[in-house]
Symmetry: D3
Subunit: 253 residues, 6 copies
């Protein structure tokens, strides 16, 4: 069986890896409020677990190794809530670039950010391009929305407004680690701003602008079965993405 | 008639403006290659002109003033092409924050980035949130895609792959300043990468990865009439957006 | 006729320019209070217009192209006055260096800062030397004082103390765009500090230290005729400077 | 039983914690070469495991919670070896300060760095003081040497020169995760520089200055029993330290 | 007799100083090539000695204290010459601001930079204003030119082109420390660039652009008597400046 | 006799120095409170004087030159006391790196920090390694503790707790410059924190946490004779260190 945790290898192992194909996968999470019912580690927990499962689904011939997670991301939208621990944008960008420089120096050709937190997305895109320009690495962003269509029915409201600590995230944590979910505190809160929070016209938002509890969505609709179904779906989807990325070459389009 | 160019006012005028309602509009462009047929100022030219037209369409009761454009943006994807002049991400972010601090100090409550270049979008979103967190300003991003559905028929290919210096941008410059377009050099180039360049799974790209000419789209399909129609459409659309933004209040959703 | 707006060219045009001779001209302005009678865009307005006129006066054989203006400069001396929008010194320096790196990468050999605001001068000199050391570009500073001797009689007081928003600047804006000057609010204020504000012994100053209105000089003495005369003089003078700079080589002295 | 993983709590849980007493524990590791026989994650692996064990030993009345580890530290001494992934000193310092600001904002009074890598030590001390000065937090450094006296006999040479990937670290990983140790590749290398690498007179060193394999010590002397004994010892020792830190108050000396 | 070396006082002495009047004097020098005949410490040597003499000339009622010199300045124009040790502009600015913050925190109201190196001048002006804006300190720049008119006849060429390591600086070092001057290596070199190196139109220069020896001026015309005369003159002049600065108040003009 | 003050040499002298052997010595001090009896310049005063004496003791064949001192260090632990002037950690690191780049550019192979202030130590170690990695220089840290064992009997308490402005430092200043010591204000203060301030488990401290006077130790036990003995001892010790460093080569161990 292949060791897919890069950092379980020795430096001579890593030196000797065939690197023409293959991708390093950096999970990027966040420590931030997820309502009164979910742990502040939710994003980091989800992204690392989905990635671990995806790696188990990979055929042996796919060359892909995971790196230790960045547990702390950019979460200043939630910083009014105790337990949120956020890097500044400038620091976050510097961390990503430093890691990529080490990856490139070791001779790898592909690096992918597997991201579990929407608030990280924009800076990951910036970092990806800057790293490509500076080091020549091929850099990929897998944003949290890659599993956005769950294998069960979501209400229209949840689809549109369930963006944080709602049905999907709550179901996932219930599936993974039910002991740290407090379903008795789960709430339903649909914030419907008169202007989008994302997209081609948007208003910058901090969580207290739109939610007192920190929830955007219906956490009460969550259950472990949905979580398991979603986990399977997302892991399978991520495994496919990794397979494709692992031998991708720019310029063939 | 209302003076909508903020910087044509004196400091005492600006001090005395009613600021409870009203938004400052910062056009953000780029100086970067736009193929062998369009000027490197294309993005700055388009965004400033569409904004000027939009302002003329505003009813008098809408409080909105434009700021001088940031002509230089973040364009390192194009930096292999002479004539591209790019700020680093770190510098661009610092510029946006410095300007916003001055805007907040003057007592304004709303700032909108009206952006003409996709390569700026991610950092504008980052800046918008950071500025809101630091200064309390309400900050809006109007990204180039706000006028993405033109009032004439686009081919499916152009819709999907015409992202830079193609039919739409070329038509717009033909409408605005035909003397600086070299239609005899216009080309059609559809780069179809086996992985998206945007969205939930993407690969970071530099222009030379996918295009030798710098064009992504069909510039040969452009003409001034399309440009005029698009200009009218986009200006009207932007005027509506500004009207809405100008009295928006967070927390009413 | 030569296209002297560099950014109206395409990247292939710019690639093909003969660059052994020739200079790029970067207008650098400021958005800052200019008293109760002049617009806050005064410095940017003046420097861009004088440069445009100077370019029209150049003989065809002089190779010189203007870049889009930096409208925002370093104006923290005026930041107590609403409408002043200032970059920090560190940001301003970073912007200048980033632009110069792109200019050098494109193969140009000469870059000139054409500056309209005294508060920018010191950092432009710093940037010029740092850029020369880093990139090998020949870098020139044309500071606002290049047109300091107007073609009409100035009072001794105005010569010495008319440093901001006084007779000269007011006359120039009256000549260029009279509709945005409020002569009924023009004042005369001679601040005569017991220590110079410039030169070999000086005291650092913020505008409120020495002026309540933001004016240093006699704005009431301004008129459009003086402005036209000064505009002609300054444009002619700048054209001569550009001609000389455009083929200057270091080391021939 | 107490939840000692802070990030398994919700934001309302964290808000409601009694914070007058109590300490947050931030494990700080490194991803860096550890010879041809140990995984590059060794430091992170050790510090997180020793901390987990220590927490299990704590009496219930001790208020202490662990934070997610910083897996990446400052390891530029090893950057010539593939698999080393290092933050720059400036980035590492910024990460520590950002995290501490969030911790202080949440109302905690004590933060401890539990460090597994000697190359991090100096910057942790710098960060600790700067954070205390800026935020008022009481900040503690627990450096890797806290368990330096193992509960079995070490040779004099190993004591003095076994500083990296030698008998102690190898034994520990053998105890924790034997499947990722390659004892057939273990070497013994005593580098004896004519000048100390630490202390009041020292020479700055990069690993290739003194070791070709990356080992400083005798890895061949390691075995799992030593590892278990050391793990017990170190966990016990750390539990005592945490108990003391958790209610420490400055100024009582 | 008054102790004018601030750092010879204890913290309680400094706490108890009357600070309503009084100025702290920070000598700023440079370590940079001064031709084949003068030591690289020339600027630091001169500015510290002239300041020491000036302080001895002050009447007792003038409140003025000197700070330890910044021996290293910004000298990148000379960095091609071994022995030049230069801070970057960004670092130099940071040093000045940090020192000023400590000065303001201690309760002083006035800080003066007494500068011995032209290459520092622009950044000192920038720092002075930024410090005034941030801390409210009154900040003064005394630039090297304060003693530019020597009490003996200079040739016209020397006046205009003798800007570095020429007759004046060489005479001063001969007067202060003749043992470290190598008059047998003194040269005369007048660089006459076809464009000014300073002033309203200037070209950024590095020393190798204009001088092979590093000398700009006629060092052979120097002698100790001139140095003594100049030293007396400059010290007297500086004493007068300090007297005036020491009780200067902004806003009285 | 050899000129050991590097900056008393000319650039051609420095260019021509034999650099294969030899070390540059950078004294690093601090301006910070040293109790009510010692000057705030104590650290800078001590380190520069001990170094000067050490250089006089060197045999002629040892190649070693001193650089001008960094008088200002990192002293934020003392910043609550007037007269403390501190650089931030980030600035201090930048200064050290800039100086080292100039040293490396000149062709030297060895640089040693001779440090007089414990608060600088950690950052000097960080800088030393970073400089070695970036420039290839061999970099040495000589920390204040190099003379920690005085040639006379210290009480056990003083040994352990006399870390600042106590018997040793006071004796040294009494020996060097008795006129600036105020022995009538000397105090004895042993702060005995229930947790170490240094070492493998430590608490970050600011001086006001543990001392009202700024003294940690028994200043009343100081006298000039002890100072002279210690000065001789420390200078001799430092001379030996420099001799060894001056021809040290990495990799011979």
């Amino acid at each position: 069986v292949i060791e897919r945790t890069l950092t379980h290898l020795t430096w001579t192992d890593i030196r000797d890896l065939e690197k023409e194909k293959g991708v390093l996968l950096l999970p990027v999470g966040a420590i931030e409020q997820h309502g009164p019912h979910l742990p502040v580690a939710t994003d980091t927990l989800l992204v690392t677990n989905i990635l671990k499962r995806a790696l188990q689904l990979l055929p042996q011939e796919v060359a892909a190794w995971r790196l230790p997670a960045l547990s702390y991301g950019k979460s200043n939208e939630h910083e009014a809530f105790p337990g949120t621990i956020s890097l500044s944008g400038e620091t976050f960008l510097a961390v990503l670039k430093d890691i990529a420089r080490s990856v490139a120096r070791a001779g790898f050709r592909r690096l992918a950010f597997v991201n579990g937190h929407g608030g990280n997305s924009a800076l990951l895109e910036v970092a990806a391009r800057d790293i490509r320009a500076e080091t020549g690495l091929m850099v990929f962003c897998v944003q949290p929305a890659f599993w956005i269509e769950p294998p069960f029915k979501l209400s229209e409201e949840e689809k549109q407004y369930g963006i944080h600590a709602g049905e999907l995230e709550t179901s996932l944590v219930l599936a993974l680690q039910p002991g740290i979910v407090k379903m008795d505190k789960a709430v339903k809160h649909y914030m419907k701003p008169p202007m989008p929070l994302f997209g081609s016209v948007s208003v910058a938002w901090l969580t207290p602008d739109w939610s007192e509890t920190g929830v955007f969505g219906d956490a009460t609709a969550a259950n472990p079965d949905k979580g398991i179904a979603l986990l399977d779906y997302a892991s399978q989807r991520l495994a496919e993405i990794i397979s494709k990325i692992s031998h991708f070459e720019v310029g063939n389009g």
